[in-house]
Amino acid sequence: MRRGASNYAEPVTDGDFATAGGPGDPADPPTVREAADRRRPRSVYGVGSDPDPRFSMANERTALAWVRTGLGLLAGGVALTSVASVTGLPSFLDVVSVLACLFGAFTAINALLSWQRAERALRLGEPLPAPTALRWLVALVILAAVVVAGYAVAQTPR
């Protein structure tokens, strides 16, 4: 399979798929093909060839799931702040809240970068990269659970 070929957003006849080449192919002169694909970033769409649309859509859904995970962390942090301020709980819960919100923001940005890496790998036919943020997410959730559970145990009347 040729690299650098792109045939999005252009009328294609049956014969094109059997014979047409990508950029630089003498049989495919002035490159309507290159002009047609203006998607960004070029670091993703400028390499490889289009994968099965279902793979791209699955990649999108994975990125969106990460964005929603970040949103969940943010919601948890905001809820913790709200509860702590209403009930007069100690201020270290606000620190947990700040960390949750910041990690939520980081998760959302990382979703974008993960999508980029995965889409590039799909286009190049390479193995998908490992989810780098997953271990941090698991570690943070466990840490937050231990801290909050420890606090709850410490506050239990004896």
Binding site: Y8, D50, S56, M57, L64, L74, V78, V98, F103
Partner: protein
């Protein structure tokens, strides 16, 4: 061979479910962000930092408009191939990151308040 053939009618049906799922994922993520912005507004109002809440609601309303105008609808599977996922994903991620920073700021204000 330079790429995949255009979806035939059968392929369009095959991709249709995936397109719908993807569209629903976009819409529920945007809905979550909009709702999150309103929650942040309520919490900020309770904490007495209404300006922070107003910014959060602004982010949410902007995203609501963008999601109606630009996010995928799932109607045309071939459109999934030509639209700019990067820009849409960047808008969504930026909105969540902005809300995350605003939430952290609200928590910091609570933490540092006398």
């Amino acid at each position: 061979m330079t790429g995949r053939p255009p979806p035939t009618e059968g392929a369009a049906q095959l991709y249709g479910a995936a397109g719908e799922r993807t569209s629903l994922a976009w819409q529920r993520t945007a809905l979550g962000v909009v709702l999150g912005s309103f929650v942040l507004f309520v919490v900020s109002a309770r904490l007495g930092v209404i300006a922070l809440g107003t910014v959060a609601v602004g982010v949410g309303l902007t995203l609501a408009v963008v999601s109606v105008m630009a996010f995928p609808t799932g109607g045309n599977p071939a459109a999934a191939q030509t639209r700019n996922s990067w820009a849409q994903l960047m808008i969504l991620s930026a909105a969540v990151a902005a809300l995350g920073l605003l939430g952290a700021l609200a928590a910091l204000i609570t933490l540092l308040a006398p």
